[in-house]
Amino acid sequence: MKRLKTVKTFHSKFNGVPEATVTPLAPPETVALVPVTAPFVKLKLLVREKDLVDVGTPLLQDKRDPQVLFVSPGAGTVEAIVRGPRRVVQEIVIRLGQTSQGPKEMAPISLESLDAMPRMKLIQLLKQRGIWPFIRQFPFMDVPDSQSPFPMAVVSLHCGDPFAPDPSVFLKDQQASFLHGLAILGKLSTKVIVTTPQRFLPPLKIMGLAEQITHVTQDEYPAGDPGVILYQIKKSAADNNSCTMDPQELIAMGHLFATGHYQTKRFYAVGGTPERIPAHYHTRMGSPVKHLVGDLKADNGVVTGGVFTGSLTPVEGHMGAGLSSAIVLNATDKDFFLGFAWPGKKLLSESRTFVSSLGSASLNMDATLHGEERACINCGWCDKKCPVDLLPQFIMKAMGAGEMEEPLELGLLDCTGCGLCTFVCPSKIDVAAIMALSKETCYRERVMP
């Protein structure tokens, strides 16, 4: 077990961090497949409204590789197909209930037969069973290319985001599935890296997982982000094509292979200022947001996914595939009377320009901008927070000038999208979005046919 060297992290503390307790919730009426997090897939719909589906029925297909399927998280009737801008499928809502033939299950594959299985056959199985899209390949975080083995598979049990689910919660009694999942990743890649922040190490050791954990990271965000870990441990350019997987999805994959049944439940961390206690809730994957957070006050909104990477989701919406936290934040337009002059005892800031920076109290946060967008003044606060040592302001300016080689040379593709550059920018420039757009431009220029 190695301790990774320190990286630049986020230091302020938020109020409303979820407790480590777990409350099981009654099953929701609907669940949905929300393929939001796959950036470049071109989806093709395989079902229509009112169709009967089972757990594991393919609902969507990636046009780039028709073998890559997205499968149903529940059994019942397809109630609605919600489309976003440009008619991109956002949600396939399934009303839980009667099924057609019973769940699509598979014969269990033991660790021994897994060992004997050829790599391509395993990949085919993963694609068929809708697991492949949950494995993501650096640097574009795309659905992986199956041609060559991955140099590394990075499994981070906790990215450091204070609102992410506690690994000692979702790993409890799931050790066997977890190990099975790791074995599958081990078949696909040369090396499997499992990391945990320091503070979760003691409970994980008690669970008997000490042997599997290869690296220990800092506790703060984003030290546990898979991209940051890869940046720290990669030895050569070949390692850039490593892959990663969310730990809960890894457990579900292991569960499916070990037992033949789909794991349809997930642990969700609910934080911020919800009407119920900020804690962990155990319920169906793809549950409605409202089912998780309960009733909302009029001014509040829900950010699903990480507090720095997630997006505001309407309460009627469903949790995205692979996302496991919901944060309730105040989300109404505000203004602050003489806002620039207050000492700011209770205002959260990573800078040292508020009195609050003298203490270390947890503070409230809201989903507003706290200022107006201005031109970049080259203050360099973004690079003071970048965990992978990029100089975001220079990459941004080079992209603005239509340059592509220079951003790449400066390490654009190492960007993990942690969002801290945008968070700290005093000019309120969405640097992270510009970095993401640059990566997308790069992808379109060279990867896409």
Binding site: K235, A237, D239, N240, G301, V303, G305, F308, T309, G310, S311, L312, L329, A331, T332, D333, K334, D335, F336, F337, L338, G339, F340, G344, L347, S349, S351, R352, T353, F354, D366, A367, T368, L369, H370, G371, E372, R374, A375, I377, N378, C379, G380, W381, D383, L391, L408, E409, L410, G411, L412, D414, T422, F423, C425, P426, S427, K428, A432, A433
Partner: protein, 383 residues
């Protein structure tokens, strides 16, 4: 509800698109956001954002400049009364001469800023709050107001707006303004007669600044001391000079505040101080003239002239400084180096800070280019 907010709510429609005063939208929005800092809901991830914004960023610089400004006012009065008046009397005399300069600088500066903002259709930005205050602090108290107006116009228009406005200027606008006045009207900016307000009935008071001494044989350090510029007087600043430059002490207090809040880069400030100390020390041990500033030693160089003001508030302007950490050290160090070099070996300019900062401003992009190449070469390539 805040009564002011009600006023803004009522007047809002007049300034919106199609309203009667829509052409004044820029100045209206600037006023409104001065009182009510807007905080709209964020549209993209990350939805949570830091509370710091550019208004607060800039107002911290103003806060650090306030003691310097107030002391400058006091010192102008102190020099006028020869230290004989009451404290209040001296302050009022000073303020009555300095405030008009500041007001003209702000007034004319904002005129251009608003004009450009309206024509270009962007917001009035906060940078001018600093430029408009820094510029007067670099001027002698006897400066004619029309020259202040011309100077700030040149600084704002040619130093900033022609490059595209805030964030795109190559040179520090306040120093550009000063350089314009310095080279266009040297009689108001140099010599021995401009640093002190003339007493009633007298044309001008001759009072050399410490930097003008030297070149007459003897030892420079003794000469400075004998002229009444002991180190502590230079440090605390009750001496004639530009309005804001005399008190190195208050400038460094401001610098410490800016470094602690990280609004200014400590690398530039410490690099500059380090540059002055090393260069002055090297010059001191080199065989050279002992009767000029060449041999004055590091402390006299640090505390005299405008170095403290320049390195704390002008060199740290992030827009015109390099953006990499190593680049900032180099930039600061070279400012210190050139300051001492100009003061020591160039008899045409008694003060070297303005020129060395402007000179390094020009070189900042080159420093960035080189340091970026080195940083990029150290990464494991990911292309």
């Amino acid at each position: 509800m805040n009564p002011l907010k009600t006023v803004f709510k009522k007047t809002d429609p007049y300034f919106q698109q199609g309203g009667r005063f829509s052409r004044f939208k820029g100045i209206y929005a600037a006023t409104r956001t001065f009182f009510f800092l807007p905080s709209p809901v964020t549209q993209n991830a990350p939805h949570v954002r830091d509370h710091i914004d550019l208004k607060r960023f800039m107002s911290l610089v103003i806060l650090a400049l306030l003691p310097v400004t107030l002391f400058g006012m006091f010192n102008v009065g102190y020099q006028y009364h020869g230290g004989a008046g009451s404290l209040l009397e001296m302050f009022i005399t000073g303020a009555s001469h300095v405030l008009p300069i500041i007001l003209v600088s702000y007034g004319v500066g904002f005129f251009w800023e608003i004009l450009f903002a309206s024509v270009r259709g962007h917001e009035v930005t906060e940078g001018l709050l600093i430029t408009g205050l820094l510029f007067p602090l670099t001027l002698p108290p006897t400066i004619p107001l029309w020259q202040v107006a011309l100077g700030i116009s040149f600084g704002v228009v040619m130093g900033k707006e022609v490059f595209g406005g805030t964030g795109r200027n190559l040179l520090n606008p306040a120093l550009t303004a000063r350089a314009f006045v310095f080279f266009s009207y040297p009689a108001s900016m140099s010599g021995n007669a401009v640093w002190q307000l003339p007493a009633p009935g007298v044309d001008a008071v001759s009072s050399a600044t410490a930097l003008a001494l030297g070149g007459t044989g003897g030892n420079i350090q003794e000469m400075i001391f004998n002229a009444g510029f002991s180190l502590d007087r230079l440090f605390f600043g009750l001496i004639p000079g530009s309005i804001g430059e005399t008190s190195a002490f208050l400038c460094f207090v401001g610098a410490i505040f800016l470094m602690v809040t990280r609004v200014a880069s400590f690398r530039i400030i410490l690099g500059g101080i380090f540059g002055v100390i090393t260069t002055a020390l090297i010059f001191m041990v080199l065989p050279g003239p002992t009767d000029t500033w060449f041999s004055a030693g590091p402390l006299y160089h640090l505390f005299s002239g405008g170095f403290a003001l320049g390195i704390s508030f002008m060199a740290t302007d992030p827009v015109s400084a390099p953006g990499t950490d190593s680049g900032r050290w180099i930039y600061g160090f070279l400012i210190g180096f050139f300051t001492v070099l100009l003061r020591s070996v160039n008899p045409a300019y008694v003060e070297g800070v303005m020129l060395s900062i402007l000179f390094m401003n020009v070189f900042a992009p080159l420093i960035d280019h080189v340091t970026l190449k080195i940083t990029a070469a150290r990464r494991i390539p990911n292309v």
